[in-house]
Subunit: 710 residues, 2 copies
């Protein structure tokens, strides 16, 4: 599902990334100015197409003939770069559209990032795109680069140095600076880049367009995406799905992980911050793998490109070092990122010890300085480990050994031989330079990363990419049409439960009564013990006004409690309308979950589940996903809770009915998605999950209509 009325993600971006002619509107003689730098860079790096500076006050710009206006150009340029002040940008775009240009990049700033006035000006640019069909990148963006094509539609100062080599990484970034810095690091490390595309304020082309276009670009093998926000969730999801369908790994640096970061992002982008955890869920569903820094983005993206199809088959990792201390650091780091460290088979250990008797043959394998003694020693140890059936990946740590020519002469041939022999296993290195040795290893198909933490994190990222590739594409959750609800009628517990029960959430048999006699009769019919709860549309939080009585064991207790409770409630909330008293069976045992939904500013209805009581409130141990989820994803949510062992029969507890709990989570999530127009929040507290086979039941429920949460 993609927002109606907009182009499919990625459509029309060819002219931005593969233009045959580029006009620079606002071209400047001064190459340090934003209107001067692209003219300089296009010439310096040898753009083979036409470069048309547009400047009404110059006959020539940086050695090229200049044109007075877009209308005066010899032909319609494929791409127009708009490098004029904000107040002239709309007119410049209109001129270009009139000349027949189908794509533009707007460098100008002074739009939505300044607040309401700028937002209006920006909306005017978006309207030009909608009306003319011209795709507009920006405003307030750093533009786009295609390295192999020498198409340089940017004013990034990073290119004052040099271009990165042409290669497999496509960079799509909302932030110009973070995108630029990624390109800078790539260039410094000699890592190849296909495209660089920054979307800035996104009046038209958004990050989903950028990802989708790169997903279908032959030159791009891995997509690196930098996200600060998301202005159209369905388009983003669709773009990530397109990348997955194309078999292109997507590595995402999504910034704004903390409250402070989200506040900064909202202030910077002018967009509402969505829950960071919901972004995680979207990435997990679509197989994108998230990193936390520009350095990690490049490490993982580059490693994925080096691996190509040969991603690790599993997380069983063998660590090999020539140093016990580094082995310990590696083991710590590998464990922290979720790699598995199985012990080598006894036969493998014997093979290692037969070559280096003083080695530590367990995992991490410490082959001691003997590893660098003779090439055949290393070949034999590598072969022993790669032959081990418990090994999916071998991470060899060499610190700075490759700087020593004697060791380099031993390691490189041995690694080459093993890489060619064991194509089915990942062979990766943790190495601190030198650059030419790293390049040689990389060319052989071995990812090389500098640093213990960075190399183990990259390996774990490769495993996550491999798992995403292996996982079946998640089927869309079917949402049969549901009758619209009357929001006003949802405000009592009884009505909320009725609506949820109709949606498939188990509730208890219960009755609403008008007096103590009816209460006692209802209790007898339902079976003792029972609970009583006041029914009132004005009292969503019944406990706070004394409106709940628990564990009433006989008719006398029910009658007395009925009177006492109503007296308390009337004293506490004399204005509240009372619609009677709810009588329900009292259940014991089981595990209490809180289960609810709310509206995320970016992703709409989301479902949350956590253990009840202080776990959710104080430990913040809650799973959250966009609604709807199917039962498999609901079960994955439960499993992701730190407190999951409580449900899973830890320490002699009975195992809870996980299947029933998952069904309830899925049912609530479907309800929230179906009734998104009427329902702002659902709050089931608790959902009692009984022992395996005994089901789960919503003991209390509250629905907050959207009209109450403007």
């Amino acid at each position: 599902m993609v927002t109606a009325g907009r182009a499919a993600p990625g459509a029309g971006l060819d002219a931005i990334l593969r233009p045959r002619s580029i006009a620079v509107i606002g071209a400047s003689q001064d190459a340090t100015k934003i209107g001067g730098r692209p003219v300089q860079l296009l010439q310096r790096f040898g753009f083979p197409g036409a470069i048309w500076p547009v400047n009404p006050r110059a006959a020539e710009v940086q050695g090229l003939p200049a044109f007075a206006s877009a209308a005066a150009l010899p032909d319609a340029p494929d791409l127009a770069i708009i490098a004029v002040a904000a107040e002239h940008a709309a007119a410049a775009l209109e001129d270009c559209a009139a000349r027949g240009t189908r794509a533009a990049v707007v460098f100008s700033s002074g739009f939505a990032e300044l607040g309401a006035e700028g937002e209006a000006a920006q909306a005017a640019l978006g309207a030009i795109a909608t009306r003319t069909g011209m795709r507009i990148l920006g405003p307030n963006c750093l533009g786009a680069v295609s390295v192999a094509e020498r198409s340089i539609a940017t004013f990034s100062i990073v290119l004052e140095g040099a271009l990165p080599p042409a290669g497999p990484l496509g960079i799509a970034s909302q932030s110009g600076n973070l995108g630029s810095y990624t390109m800078l690091l790539a260039r410094e490390r000699g890592i190849g880049v296909s495209r660089f595309l920054t979307t800035g304020n996104e009046c038209d082309v958004d990050i989903a367009d950028a990802i989708a276009w790169l997903a279908q670009d032959d030159a791009t093998k891995v997509v690196l995406a930098v996200l600060e926000t998301c202005r159209d969730a369905p388009r983003l999801v669709r773009a990530l799905e397109l990348a997955r369908e194309a078999g292109k790994p997507v590595v995402v640096l999504k910034i704004g992980a903390t409250a402070a970061g989200q506040a900064a992002a909202a202030s910077h982008t002018g967009a509402l911050a969505g829950s960071d955890a919901v972004f995680d869920a979207v990435f997990a569903r679509t197989g994108a793998v998230r990193v936390r820094s520009v350095e990690a983005l490049l490490d993982l993206g580059h490693a994925a490109a080096v691996c190509g199809e040969a991603l690790p088959r599993g997380r069983r990792t063998m660590l090999l070092t020539a140093s016990g201390g580094f082995g310990v650091l590696l083991a710590d780091a590998a464990t922290a990122v979720g790699l598995e460290l199985p012990a080598p088979e006894p036969a493998t250990q014997r093979r290692i010890l037969s070559v280096v008797p003083f080695a530590s043959a367990r995992n991490p394998v410490d082959a001691t300085a003997q590893m660098g003694a003779r090439p055949e020693v290393l070949v034999e140890i590598l072969a022993a480990i790669l032959d081990d059936p418990n090994c999916d990946a071998l991470l060899l740590q060499l610190a700075a050994s490759l700087y020593v020519p004697r060791l380099r002469g031993v390691f490189l041939p041995a690694l080459k031989a093993m890489r060619e022999k064991h194509t089915e296993k990942l062979l990766m290195l943790s190495v601190h330079g030198p650059a030419d040795a790293v390049a040689e290893l990389t060319a052989l198909g071995m990812p090389v990363v500098d640093g213990v933490d960075a190399s183990t994190a990259t390996l774990a990222g490769l495993c996550a990419l491999a798992e995403a590739r292996r996982a079946p594409l998640p089927a869309a959750v079917a949402l049969p049409p549901a009758a619209p609800l009357d929001p006003a009628a949802l405000r009592t517990e009884a009505a909320a439960k009725q609506a949820l029960a109709a949606a498939g959430v188990p509730v208890l048999p219960e009755r609403v009564v008008r007096n103590a006699e009816e209460a006692a009769a209802a209790a007898a019919a339902l079976g003792f013990p029972v609970v009583l709860k006041v029914v009132s549309p004005d009292l969503p939080h019944k406990t706070e006004v004394g409106g709940v009585m628990l564990d009433l064991g006989d008719a006398g207790a029910v009658t007395a409690a009925h009177a006492a409770m109503l007296a308390r409630v009337r004293a506490a909330a004399p204005q509240a309308r009372l619609d009677g008293v709810l009588v329900a069976p009292m259940l014991r045992g089981g595990v209490e979950l809180i289960l609810g939904t709310k509206r995320d500013p970016v992703f709409g209805p989301v479902v949350l589940v956590g253990l009840g009581g202080i776990f959710a409130e104080i430990m913040q141990d809650v799973a959250i996903r966009p609604a709807p989820v199917d039962e498999a994803e609901a079960l994955a949510m439960l499993r992701s809770l730190r407190a999951f062992p409580v449900l899973d029969g830890a320490r002699g507890r009975p195992r809870a009915d996980l299947a029933a709990a998952a069904r309830a989570v899925a049912a609530v999530s479907r309800f929230a998605a179906q009734q998104a127009a009427a329902v702002a929040e659902v709050d089931i507290n608790p959902l009692l999950v009984r022992a395996e086979g005994e089901g789960a039941v919503a003991l209390d429920a509250l629905i907050i209509p959207r009209e109450d949460r403007p």
Copy 2:
């Protein structure tokens, strides 16, 4: 307290680090051999003292006259390097001791790292140190280097390149490779090193010696310590205290943080792994700050040296960037490491906006690309932030801007002016090169770190060092002599509680009875409701055999429960000796803690506390410290629990009696320390902590004598 019979930490190491003459026993003509490399390096780097190769089969080694034996040397060398096979090491040491040498470095491997046989050989080396008073570094170590003195008693291949510059960082490492790699990174970054000292298998000189000597070394301003294990806890604690008394920051890379890492460390060092969390507690007490990687060790150590006395006064950090995206990343990273990000005062915000109207003047401050426009813009923004009363530290992020000459020309003078004006505040940079600009800034007293995560983590580390410096030195907990306990008499709950009550742990009044009538009478005297528990030295876990009955409200219930319980216990454990039944009042309400002690293989008795139930068991939310702790540290333990809000009155709960809980923790810890000879473990489960002012009480207690835990 330092282990009896050993030299004070650091004593006698001068000869290792400031020798005037060095003999190399096993000197080799081949400079790639471990007996050849020091001869080469000492000459190459210009050691000004005497270099005496000892080799019975050569008249000359690498151009120097060689000697047949230690006895043949012209004088007693200050330092002997032992580079012979393991089986000849002891004889070589004896020869050197006989010649009058007071210190030796043993490179030879093949000792405790090989298991029992090697351990015996190593013990023989240790015995030579003890008998002769000669200090021995190693065996199986990479030796020692003093940079300014050109004293190179190592065979590290890192020095095949060059020495690091002489400077303030003293490196003390158990692992030769990790120590070497630290030195390599320092050299690459141009960071000055005073000493390099690797302790290897520690037959005599240990990591505590190394830290203590560096703490008292004039050339060393900051100690970088790499720990894999600890073989003598009191010496380590004393060494860290010495560093603190000397005002020298200690940054520790303690490896083996995870179970996998600890297993690797134990296998590598042959030493038992202590609880990683106890190391944390020891570092916290002594003011050492822990890092997780070699890179972070160098980042923080160098930054601390650059700051000198001018550490940040608090954690209130202002972030300044020229990029919204980097601002978000910085805010995320700063929050994650515990920095505070206060909003600037309104007046500060107005000052910033008066200079750059489109800036984001909140924290992070995004001064946009205008920041690099003119020097006076940056000066004014820096001044506004540094004048703000809410600012302890200003972190300026420039990515790679200093590579652009125009920007460098703006930034450097502005920073210099501000550094000189605001000496009371930390001014730090997150910058990606170039090296000469970094060196210039560093020389002005501004720490510079590459990378968002690394710079924020380093800043947080500086704050931790500053907090440690400000904190009062913890007083030793007084442990009055206590009468030794009879371990055999501790095995029942009643005896355990009696012993703990005598140590100051509150318990309930309770009685042990022999029959149902006595039980009913005791219950009446104590007051209903009561609990009954079986008393048996054979049944430490009473619940498992049905040996506990709760909430007995009258005499009839007590009589019935007494019979039923004993029948259940006899059926479940027919062999168990039953010594009666314990009757105690039944308390309700409050928060249940688990409180206990156990023996750590490295640190001896340690005290643990956590919330009862699944918090401690499943969430592993437990605080652990070496025993004894005082009440302030006990309170800090409680506050460190993730579940602390449960004790602190979260969500309308009554606040628990924290002072009483802390008193109980401290009392139990003193008990464990006093009775360390007799007691292996104490297990109080639960300690019921009642509402503020109502105290805490041990409801159940178990003491496991050391004779039960061989």
